[in-house]
């Protein structure tokens, strides 16, 4: 007999892994305007599962069982629509969903492996409509495709449940007014729309990779979800663009180091202190394979260069063996494509390794928008590192404190505090 706890654990697990597929297929059937219907059917399916499994035990193939129930509930919905025109069945193929003769067989074709993947891909593009801001896009993707609860999304995005609920309501409202079906982008808009989807996936990944105030479980989850979504794009011949493979490579390289980046308590371990034997070689190899695929075509995206940068780090046997001049060249390239202050600061860090404090300070002073730099914790962090090398501990302390004030990540704040304390102890000794 299955215990209630075992059933709950299993349904939680299945919800995370299966609900996204179901939502995508159901939204494709009922239309984007009826996203809520799709969510209801999925929820009802899981409620039925919990009730029946409690009585009869867990079936042999729970995922298939769930899909079977979802199909039945879909048919119930389709039958209801005879009495009130809720769904749009005007297209030739969709008309077959209105006939009892055909709805079962036609519905089966929707629930096959490849159509499910296609629907998830369509859902992803639909969530990433330019009408919604990236915050909304990620929230929607986590809710629909990744099976996150509102509480989990709030936790993952360092927000609160009220904000997340509001976002979801507004997004659904937006869809309700646009009676559209899930669609893949037209070839003419493929690059542009894929760029939005990739940005969303990368933000999702970074949320897992950087937000170190999370438990390791949530962080792993977010990275895994980002990789899964990226894989959907990379596996479909229509959407397997070079920039998609480049982002996959980048995420694999980053993910390969995730184990060694933090202590068990969530404190940051700096690159030169990381245990490189903990790096995941399988992921590095996978990243290389994606990198190889990304080299076709002439389009060079920022993801290409960022992946190359991440690979430079992954392929250095020790910190001392890091090829800094290669990295500098890559950052030069990256800045040409994406001239944001973070890339500029990262280049400064490489420059500090290669040429030392004076040239780096001079380089930083050259940045045209000094105001933008002043907003970034990383800027003062770099300045403090320069001060440490030039042994100006008073200035270094001042810069560390400004970096600390601007930092939003708990783990980063702890790291800076540790550096400050070490510096103060050193001052006292001298």
């Amino acid at each position: 007999m299955s215990t209630p706890t075992a059933i709950h654990q299993l349904t939680d697990h299945l919800f995370r892994h299966e609900s996204g597929k179901m939502i995508a297929v159901l939204t494709n059937i009922f239309g984007l305007a009826n996203l809520e219907t799709a969510e209801d059917v999925v929820q009802q399916t899981f409620i039925t599962a919990i009730e029946i499994w409690r009585l009869k035990g867990i079936p042999e193939n729970p995922a298939a069982w769930l899909m079977q129930v979802a199909k039945r509930k879909t048919i119930d919905q389709l039958r209801k629509s005879k009495f009130a025109v809720q769904y749009d069945f005007s297209s030739n193929e969709r008309k077959l969903l209105t006939s009892e003769y055909t709805m079962h067989s036609v519905l089966e074709t929707y629930w096959q492996e490849q159509p499910i993947k296609d629907d998830m891909l369509r859902m992803m593009y639909s969530c990433c409509t330019p009408d919604l801001s990236p915050d909304f896009q990620i929230t929607l993707i986590l809710k629909t495709l990744c099976g996150f609860s509102i509480a989990e999304i709030a936790h993952a995005l360092l927000s609160n449940e009220e904000t997340i609920s509001k976002r979801l309501q507004r997004a659904k409202h937006h869809f309700r007014n646009k009676a559209t079906f899930l669609q893949l982008p037209l070839p003419s808009e493929l690059h542009e729309k894929t760029a939005i989807v990739l940005n969303c996936i990368y933000l999702l990944f970074n949320e897992g990779y950087h937000a170190s105030s999370h438990t390791s479980l949530i962080r792993e989850d977010l990275m895994q979800e980002a990789l899964l979504l990226g894989k959907l794009l990379a596996e479909n011949p229509l959407t397997a663009l070079p920039e998609v493979n480049a982002l996959m490579a980048l995420m694999c390289f980053h993910a390969s180091r995730s184990e060694s980046r933090l202590t068990k308590e969530g404190a940051i371990i700096l690159l030169h202190e990381q245990d490189r034997t903990l790096w995941n070689n399988e992921l590095i190899d996978l990243g290389k394979a994606y990198m190889h695929k990304a080299t076709v075509g002439e389009h060079l995206s920022a993801y290409h260069i960022e992946a190359a940068i991440a690979f430079e780090h992954c392929s250095a046997k020790t910190f001392e063996l890091t090829n800094w001049s290669n990295l500098l060249r890559l950052y030069d390239w990256l800045i040409k494509i994406d001239h944001n202050p973070i890339n500029f600061l990262n280049r400064a860090i490489v420059l500090l390794q290669l040429e030392g404090p004076q040239p780096t300070a001079a380089y930083l002073a050259k940045y045209p928008n000094q105001n933008a730099l002043q907003q970034l914790s990383l800027y003062f962090h770099v300045l403090a590192e320069i001060d440490c090398i030039t042994k100006d501990s008073t200035k270094a302390l001042h810069h560390y404190n400004r970096a600390l004030a601007l930092s939003t990540s708990k783990a980063e704040q702890q790291l800076i505090q540790k550096k400050i304390i070490r510096l103060q102890q050193k001052q006292q000794v001298e």
């Binding site: 030739n92 008309k95 006939s99 009892e100 003769y101 055909t102």
Partner: protein, 117 residues
């Protein structure tokens, strides 16, 4: 373009005579038949009908229970399609899986415009 009603007669009890697999394959052929029609934009709608029914007849409005006819004549379902003429409607009807049964029959009737005098 005209609308035609296809009355699908006979073939009753077919589900009982077949294994679940055979039945599934049979239903797949219905889906294929209608699917091809739908792809060509000729499909309007179709539903199967239950074997039981009621009949109200005459000025006295006498109510009686069905079934009303011999099994081979009973209407088991209908389909409405949009085609240009009877020839085309007949060609479509020939593909109907009800004709897999000896007593199956498809009655084809053009839907008429009702002109007021």
């Amino acid at each position: 373009m005209k609308e035609f009603l296809l009355l699908l007669r006979g073939g009753d009890g077919r589900q009982l005579q077949q294994s679940p697999e055979e039945w599934q394959q049979h239903m797949q052929r219905w889906a294929d038949w209608m699917g091809n029609m739908a792809k060509a934009g000729k499909f309007v709608g179709a539903q199967p009908l239950s074997a039981n029914g009621k009949m109200v007849s005459g000025t006295a409005k006498i109510v009686s229970d069905g079934p009303f006819m011999e099994g081979k004549e009973m209407v088991g379902g209908y389909l409405i399609c949009k085609v240009d003429n009877y020839d085309e409607a007949v060609a479509l009807a020939k593909g109907c899986p009800i004709l897999e049964f000896e007593n199956g029959a498809v009655e084809i009737r053009e839907i008429q415009d009702m002109n007021m005098r």
